[in-house]
């Protein structure tokens, strides 16, 4: 409709040389129209619908009932929701640190132009391209106590008892999941960080070297500040991805020993599709969306700050 309106407006003063801004305007809109149509139909509408549902007691089967903010009030005293939030935060912090702790050295490692570096880069990146579900499945088998590979190997190295069941306790299961995620994601973060590293003019490092700064100091005072923007980008991707984590817990531990690994999305999934409280699930989704927007604004602010710097 907006398109049609814009088109029908008479062009006030035709300019022979430049394209008219109005013409250009509706053209621009035309180019983004397919994308907007998809986003509206498959994203905006469902989200609005979700909001509508969140104001109802909405069982998956049977009739619905308007309850206003009832779902939101229930959320405030739902201890399982809080523990899901807590676990998600815990996971996000640990996994983000773990990914960066590995990806940064990896990026520095593959930055140098040496022989074989392309091969190493490719090898490290390979797990990124398989799906999280396949990767989870692979590692479930890998770490299985009866049929897996990890137990015999680690037992052979003398690190564990052959019959250790990694998925029986929270800490070891959590460790395996983190190991899987780091294995799968580190390559991606590495490449993002690599672009940041390569964008740093080599002269800067040289200058610092001539000034007598050692390797560590050069990293802290030259490399890191210049990487700020890149780090913010990969941070956003990593944090958003971790907050929405679901597949790995669902596939690998089904919520972990005694429900200790229920992430927020998992809890929403359970409420919506296992207990069929769609209204309550919708309300929690919107709260989660709100949290994510807040975090993203904060991170975008970090990104902005980066732009002011040289």
């Amino acid at each position: 409709m907006t398109l049609a309106d814009t088109v029908s407006l008479p062009v006030r003063r035709p300019r022979p040389k430049r394209r008219s801004p109005r013409r250009s305007q509706w053209k621009g809109l035309l180019y983004i129209a397919p994308a907007m149509a998809l986003v509206i139909v498959f994203f905006i509408l469902p989200v609005l619908f979700t909001f509508w549902m969140s104001l109802h007691k909405w069982p998956m089967l049977g009739g619905t009932r308007f309850i206003g903010l009832g779902n939101y009030i229930r959320m405030m005293s739902d201890s399982r929701f809080y523990s899901a939030l807590g676990f998600t935060a815990y996971y996000t912090v640990i996994i983000t640190i773990a990914i960066f702790a590995l990806a940064f050295p990896l990026a520095m490692f593959v930055e140098r132009q040496r022989r074989m570096v392309g091969v190493y880069r490719t090898a490290i990146f390979m797990p990124v391209v398989v799906g999280l579900a396949s990767a989870s499945l692979l590692w479930v088998w890998f770490a299985n106590v009866d049929s897996g590979f990890l137990n015999p190997m680690l037992a052979w190295l003398g690190l564990i008892d052959l019959k250790t069941n990694f998925f029986a306790s929270f800490d070891s299961a959590f460790f395996i999941i983190c190991l899987m995620v780091v294995w799968k994601v580190a390559g991606f973060t590495m490449i993002i960080l690599l672009t940041g590293l390569q964008a740093i003019p080599t002269e800067l490092g040289e200058a610092a070297r001539i000034d007598g700064a050692n390797r560590w100091k050069r990293f802290i005072y030259v490399t890191l500040p210049l990487m700020r923007k890149t780090m913010a980008l990969s941070l956003i991707l990593s944090v958003t991805g971790s907050i929405l984590a679901f597949d790995q817990f669902y596939i690998m531990t089904a919520g972990g020993p005694q429900n200790k690994m229920i992430s927020v999305v998992y809890y929403i999934f359970n409420q919506s599709f296992v207990s069929f409280n769609l209204g309550y699930g919708a309300a929690m989704s919107l709260v989660l969306l709100f949290i994510l927007v807040l975090i993203s604004i904060f991170q975008l602010w970090l990104l902005r700050v980066g732009e002011d710097r040289p």
């Binding site: 809109l29 180019y31 994308a35 140098r112 090898a123 390979m126 391209v129 692979l138 590979f149």
Partner: protein, 287 residues
């Protein structure tokens, strides 16, 4: 003099050794799980329960695991075909839609441009698991439920934030002068886009296509909820049935075969196009 030179050479050699030693260890860490899984999937059915020590078939190569995998659902070929159709369709559509949108956002000015851009990016932040029910109902209204086309459209939407972001950056990186020059030569709008700009943003396109392909190839939950016909299920649903076990026992051989079938095409596509892909990814990340 000579000793100094020798020492330096020795040091260089040592550092090269250290470098490649580290590289090799890293490569093993990141590749071994694939290698072990793929090799193990060719073991005899009787070995499938045992740990993969050594991680290759010891009693001859066998396709038992694949036969067992094939006995789930409507057969592995059917599901692979479905997955391929959805993944390729998603990749194509995503490229077209995001190419146009990226061009629009990069080259034109219009009302609410930034707001609309943020809106598209915001799709990234919704756990789409939570909007599955509305999605299902909307698809049903459109007559697109239980169809691979409906699923494809949903996947394209899920791909848009990343792809539009990527393509806008790709167009931003093209110097305006090239465009001006082409415009003087008489190329306009769409022709300009196709003839002149397309080759310049090709790495971005390949990145977008690969991401779309991989993500839709691997997606599980939406496929499960939105499809309701055995013969239309995609591979991840087959794999989840394998994971759930049959007759109360999980067939690890079939799991290995499933992981292999799921990941080998991904690895293959990546290796084939990785030059473009890396370039596109890095160009997109610079912004």
């Amino acid at each position: 003099m000579t000793t100094k030179k020798e020492a330096r050479a020795r040091r260089a050699l040592f550092s090269a050794g250290g470098y490649h030693g580290t590289g090799l260890l890293l490569a093993i860490f990141f590749l071994a799980p694939f290698a072990i899984t793929i090799l193990s999937s060719f073991r005899h059915g009787t070995e499938a329960r045992l740990p993969p020590i050594p991680p290759w078939p010891t009693t001859g190569v066998s396709l038992d695991a694949y036969r067992s995998l094939d006995s789930f659902g409507a057969g592995v070929w059917q599901h692979t075909l479905n997955s391929a159709a959805v993944a390729i369709g998603t990749a194509l559509l995503t490229v077209i839609v995001s190419l146009l949108a990226g061009y629009g956002f990069s080259r034109y000015r219009f009302l609410f441009k930034n707001a609309l851009f943020v809106l598209i990016i915001a799709t990234l932040m919704i756990p789409f698991q939570s909007i599955l029910t509305p999605l299902f109902i909307i698809l049903a209204r459109l007559g697109l439920n239980n169809s691979l086309i409906g699923l494809t459209l949903v996947y394209v939407t899920l791909q848009l934030p990343f792809s539009v972001f990527m393509m806008r950056n790709a167009f931003d990186a093209v110097p305006k002068e090239i465009e001006e020059a082409a415009r003087i030569d008489g190329a306009r709008d769409f022709r300009l886009l196709v003839r002149v700009l397309l080759p310049l943003v090709l790495p971005g396109i390949v990145t977008v296509a690969i991401f779309a392909f991989l993500n839709s190839w691997n997606e599980f939950l939406a496929a499960l909820v939105l499809l309701s016909d055995n013969s239309k299920f995609t591979l991840p649903i087959l794999i989840s049935a394998v994971r759930a076990g049959r007759l109360g026992a999980i067939d690890w051989g079939a799991v290995q075969a499933g992981v292999t079938v799921m990941s080998v095409p991904c690895l293959f596509v990546f290796l084939l196009l990785q030059r473009y892909y890396m370039r596109g990814l890095m160009a997109g990340a610079v912004k």
